[in-house]
Structure formats: structure tokens, C-alpha cells
């Protein structure tokens, strides 16, 4: 650390180059912290558990090729036929399939008044067996009983009086203690619904919605010409089940089947835009790091070329090669530390603005520590090659004419 004082004095005497590098490092740090935070949040979003037994699920839409008053009979027959297949474990129909971005969201209130708003939630209305088919885990209360489960030509919102919610939604309904949610009544559009059970996870239909852990399920499926089916295959029999169900349903004249996919495809398609933006974020972050490292490399190289004679003098006066390397490493650490210090201030200010504009979470403290370590290490990697070349400057260069 003996070099620290002369380094600070030298930097202060010719500060333009180092100052520009400090600014560059500060900008890189600011962006790295905030973009890194956004990227990791996105990563968590993309890998958020859906609550479904995804590996054994497939979904499709199929019409009911009968008159409307026969919809219920047809659908029940379809369920019965599908369940007879040895490869199928369970089947149900739903108003929307998770992660397909097509569905309904509604505001939940504590009373009839809209002013008692609790939260917005993704809405599912499903036929019986949905807990088994989707592989949901009921953690409090009960499943819907058979008497509650209905297929109806009316709107399920009118027919329902009970509902199940996800744990994340329960935490909004009972912020003090989510386990007290069962038995409570919530209101949607002025109608009361009693909560009878809580499932651990059931992701809403919109992958990009940050609140998509909050879902509500109604026990009534509204019958329409087109039904969305979800089928759970026995372990290891997904492909077989998909083929058998397709063949079975297509025996019905006038049947049209569409969007016939394993759930892995649904997840992949649903998160594609987010994965693309994550890739771009990571690419921008890496690009920025490379530019910063090149800047550090360039500054160090320029400083060394400019001070080639001075390095020769230091060598002549007794500096060992290691002492020269150490000098430039320490100088780089000083510049980088100033950059990080300025970057911390800028990153906090930017994060406050981003929190206002994009409803982001504040950047946790460990991001600053990791970001500082990354920038310091990157800076050292960038400065070592020019520092080593500086160490190889011959001490004899001190005696050469200017």
C-alpha cells in the first residue's frame, strides 16, 4: 500500500483520463446493478412454479359437435371415454389454460363496495377433478364437493357461491395470517363468494403478469361450443395418452381439435417473449462489461505507453517487475473503487426512479456487493495484460535519450 499516496497524487495531477474511466465504470455499475436485478427477477418469473404437474399434462381445445342442449351430455361422455384409456389418469375442462395469456381477471373486494379492494386475481372456472388433473396441492380447507361442481349453460359467476384461492391470494385476503382465509367471504362485482379451500400454487394465465401467483377457482364450468381440455397422463405415458385421446375424440363426426400440445410447449410458448427479453438483457449486460473492460484495458495501456519512460525510471531506481505490476493493479483498483462509489449513488437514484415508473422492487444490498466484486475482478482482468507488459519495460530505457 506504499504506492497508494503517489498513485492518488499522480491521478489528481492528470485527472481527465482516469475521471472519464471513473464515469464509465460508474455508468456500467449503475446499469449492471439495475439490469442484473431486472434480469434475475425475470429469471425467477420464468422459473416460477405453476403448481401444475407439467410433465404429465397436455391440453387442447375441442368443439362439442352437438346441439347446445346436448353440450353437458357430450362433454360428460367425452370425459368418461377419455378416462377409460389406460394411459390417462385424469381429465377436466377449464375456461382458460394456465400460461396461454387468454383468460379473465377480476378485482376482489372485502365488501360489496368497490372501495374495499383487496387484489386482482386470475380467474379459473373448472369442471370436477381439476385438483387431480392439474396436480394441485390443497393446503388448507377442502376441495369442492360433488354438489358444488356443475356444468352449466349459465355464467359460472352467477351459479357459484364458493371459491378456492391460491396461497398468494390468501395472503392478500388475510395479510395478517393467510391461514385464516378459509371461511371468509370475498366480493366480486358485488356478489359474495365463500372461500372453502386454499391451493399452494396455481399460476394465472398471463406469464408476464407479476401478480400471476394470485388465482381464484370457481366450481362451475360454463358450457360453450368449444371446450378447453386438460388431460393428465400416467407417468411415462404422455405421448401415448396424447395419441390415444386424439384418436378417440376424432371418432366423433364433426369434431375439430386444435392447440393440441404437451404443457411443456405451453410453458415454452408462454415465456418466449420474456426469455427473449432476458437474453437481450443478459447480452446488453455482457456487452457493457466487455466495453468497460476494454475501457479499463485501453486506459491502462494508454497510461503505460504514455509513462513508458517513467516506468523505465522506476525500474532503474529499484522497482522490481512485481512492484510495477502492483502499482498498476493498485491504480486500477483506486479508479475502479471511485467508479463503484459513484456507481452506487447513481444505481440507487436510478433504482428509485425505476421503482416509480415500472413498479419494480428495490435492489437488495447484496447486488451492490456482487456488482462491486464483478467490476473489480473485471477491471483487474483488464489491467493485468498491460501491467505485465509495463513490467517488461527495460530499466535501461531510463538512460536512452528522450
Amino acid at each position: 500500500m506504499k504506492d497508494l499516496t503517489p498513485i492518488l497524487k499522480t491521478l489528481w495531477k492528470s485527472k481527465t483520463g482516469p475521471f472519464l474511466l471513473v464515469i464509465q465504470i460508474a455508468v456500467a455499475f449503475t446499469i449492471l446493478i439495475n439490469v442484473g436485478h431486472m434480469a434475475i427477477n425475470k429469471w425467477h418469473e420464468i422459473n416460477k412454479p405453476s403448481g401444475l404437474d407439467e410433465a404429465h399434462l397436455f391440453t387442447f381445445t375441442a368443439n362439442l359437435p352437438v346441439e347446445p342442449d346436448s353440450y353437458q351430455a357430450r362433454l360428460e361422455q367425452d370425459f368418461a371415454d377419455i378416462l377409460e384409456l389406460a394411459s390417462v389418469e385424469s381429465v377436466n375442462a377449464t375456461n382458460s389454460v394456465p400460461l396461454t395469456s387468454w383468460g379473465l381477471g377480476l378485482a376482489l373486494n372485502r365488501t360489496e363496495s368497490d372501495e374495499s379492494y383487496i387484489s386482482y386475481a386470475g380467474v379459473y372456472s373448472m369442471s370436477s377433478n381439476f385438483v387431480e388433473t392439474l396436480g394441485l396441492e390443497v393446503i388448507m380447507g377442502r376441495k369442492f364437493d360433488d354438489a358444488e361442481m356443475r356444468l352449466s349453460s349459465d355464467d359460472y359467476m352467477i351459479k357459484s357461491t364458493t371459491a378456492m384461492v391460491t396461497k398468494a391470494l390468501a395472503e392478500k385476503i388475510s395479510p395478517e395470517d393467510w391461514t385464516q382465509t378459509v371461511g371468509k367471504t370475498i366480493y366480486i362485482n358485488g356478489r359474495p363468494y365463500q372461500i372453502v379451500g386454499i391451493v399452494n400454487e396455481l399460476i394465472a394465465t398471463w406469464p408476464a403478469w407479476w401478480g400471476n401467483k394470485r388465482s381464484i377457482i370457481f366450481p362451475v364450468l360454463t358450457l360453450t361450443n368449444e371446450s378447453k381440455f386438460m388431460v393428465r397422463a400416467h407417468p411415462g405415458q404422455l405421448q401415448q395418452a396424447m395419441e390415444e385421446v386424439h384418436t378417440l375424440l376424432m371418432r366423433q363426426p364433426g369434431r375439430i381439435i386444435d392447440k393440441y400440445h404437451p404443457f411443456s410447449h405451453t410453458r415454452e410458448t408462454g415465456y418466449k417473449p420474456m426469455i427473449s427479453s432476458l437474453v437481450i438483457l443478459i447480452a446488453v449486460t455482457i456487452g457493457l462489461m466487455v466495453v468497460t473492460m476494454l475501457g479499463t484495458f485501453g486506459q491502462a495501456r494508454f497510461a503505460i505507453l504514455r509513462r513508458k519512460r517513467q516506468i523505465g525510471i522506476r525500474r532503474a531506481l529499484g522497482a522490481s517487475k512485481w512492484q510495477i505490476v502492483r502499482y498498476y493493479i493498485l491504480e486500477n483498483m483506486v479508479i475502479t473503487s471511485f467508479g463503484i462509489l459513484l456507481g452506487v449513488i447513481c444505481a440507487i437514484l436510478l433504482n428509485v426512479k425505476l421503482m416509480d415508473f415500472f413498479d419494480l422492487l428495490s435492489v437488495p444490498g447484496e447486488y451492490f456487493l456482487v456488482g462491486a466484486a464483478v467490476i473489480l475482478v473485471a477491471g483487474q482482468f483488464a489491467v493485468i495484460p498491460p501491467a505485465l507488459s509495463a513490467a517488461n519495460i527495460s530499466p535501461a530505457s531510463a538512460t536512452r535519450s528522450v
Binding site: I313, L317, G318, S401
Partner: protein, 240 residues
């Protein structure tokens, strides 16, 4: 032909060279910059090295100052054989045994006089207090104690060379290596620097000085001429 230059030794051999030679090898050509020679310089001697440009003076100085390795022979500095020493050991020897004075002063422009003189001391294990004491003593010797916070560019050439001498003295070296110390100075300033060097020599520090100026060479006790890579001792008439 081995040249042997070893005379009027005052005492302990500060510098002892035996069969030392230097050649540069490129892809196609080998150039013999210094022919094999023997040389002894004793403690307290003031030796001037003279010779025309390109004769090998700087190469000799670089070898004597451990800035460049010799190709053949043995070189003992203060009794220690430096042949085959590591770069680190040579750096340490340069720092502790040799004080350098360069033609173009070679001060660091971003550092003030105090920091310039302190710089080589930082490569040693001196405490901050000892370093400060040595710097101030050196500055006093060259008469610039009052200007320690000035920067080199605020001084005249003669003053800058005095700072360089102070830097060379601060480490208490076994001998000073001066490369054309007055080459960039006018005659008045040059006289001042020569007087300072003689004064330092009289206090017991050996000096090896490369110069073009025969008048200055005569002020040294001994003159060695290098011509076309050959070292020869010059017998000069004593000046009044």
C-alpha cells in the same frame, strides 16, 4: 585482447569487472558493443568515462548500473557477484547500492520534489518517518529544502538535476552513476552540478560519470576512455 584497467585503488573495491563484454545478437548479425575488459573502481574514487557518441559509453553504464546484463565475464558489485542474479535481486541491488543521475534528470512530473526523492525509498522497508528524514537530509545537501512541495517543471534545469542528485543520495548508495549529468545544462549550472558532485565525492561516495566534456572529465580523479567498444585508461595531466 583483454584490457586490464586497475590502478590507483584507494581501498576497498566497489566495482570489480573481469573479462566483461557485451554483444548484441540479431537474426543476422552479432555486434560486439564492448570488448572484454577488466576494471576496478575503489571506494571513494571519482571516475570519468569519456568517448565519442556510439562508442559504447551508455552500454557500459547500463552494465555497471545493472540496467542491462553483460554477455561475458564476471562483475562484482560491492563484493557480490551479480552474474546470473534474478531480476528481483538486481532491482534490489540497484535500489540499495547505486544512485542514478541521468542527463535528462528523469524526475516524475506528476510528483513534487519530496515525493520524487521518496519514490526509490518506497521500494525499501524504511518507515514513513525514516523516509521523510532521508528525503529532507538529501534536499538540504543540494540546497533545495525549502522547495520540497514544488513540482519539477517549476524548477530550472540545474535545480532539477540537484533534485535528481538528492534522489540518488537519499538511499545512501555505494556509488553514484551519472550519465552526462551536465549535458542538458548551461555552463554556469554545469559548474554548480560538478562542484556538488565533487563535494559528494569528497565526503566518500564513489562516482562513475559518463561525459563528453573533457574539462569535466579532468575534474575526476581517473578517466577511462571507451572507443569502438575498447576501454583504455587515460593518463591526463593534472589540472592546476
Amino acid at each position: 585482447m583483454l584490457q586490464t584497467i586497475s590502478e590507483n585503488a584507494k581501498g576497498y573495491n566497489m566495482l570489480k569487472m573481469r573479462g566483461v563484454a557485451k554483444s548484441f545478437v540479431t537474426k543476422t548479425v552479432e555486434t560486439q558493443a564492448l570488448q572484454p575488459f577488466d576494471l576496478d573502481i575503489s571506494q571513494g574514487e571519482f571516475v570519468a568515462i569519456v568517448g565519442p557518441s556510439g562508442s559504447g559509453k551508455t552500454t557500459f553504464l547500463n552494465i555497471a548500473g545493472l540496467l542491462e546484463a553483460h554477455s561475458e565475464g564476471q562483475y562484482y558489485l560491492d563484493g557480490k557477484d551479480i552474474t546470473g542474479l534474478s531480476d528481483r535481486s538486481k532491482s534490489s541491488l540497484r535500489n540499495q547500492k547505486i544512485g542514478f543521475i541521468f542527463q535528462s534528470f528523469n524526475l516524475i512530473p506528476e510528483l513534487n520534489l519530496f515525493d520524487n526523492i521518496e519514490m526509490p525509498l518506497r521500494y525499501r522497508t524504511f518507515s514513513r518517518k525514516v523516509r521523510a528524514q532521508r528525503v529532507m537530509e538529501a534536499l538540504e545537501k543540494v540546497g533545495l529544502a525549502g522547495r520540497k512541495s514544488h513540482y519539477p517543471q517549476q524548477l530550472s534545469g540545474g535545480q532539477q538535476q540537484r533534485v535528481a542528485i538528492a534522489r540518488a543520495l537519499a538511499g545512501s548508495p555505494s556509488f553514484l552513476l551519472a550519465d552526462e549529468p551536465t549535458g542538458n545544462l548551461d555552463s554556469k549550472m554545469a559548474d554548480g552540478i560538478m562542484a556538488l558532485l565533487k563535494d559528494i565525492n569528497q565526503q566518500g561516495t564513489s562516482i562513475l560519470m559518463v561525459t563528453h566534456d573533457m574539462d569535466q572529465a579532468r575534474q575526476a580523479g581517473r578517466v577511462v576512455e571507451i572507443r569502438d567498444g575498447y576501454l583504455t585508461e587515460q593518463q591526463l595531466a593534472l589540472t592546476a
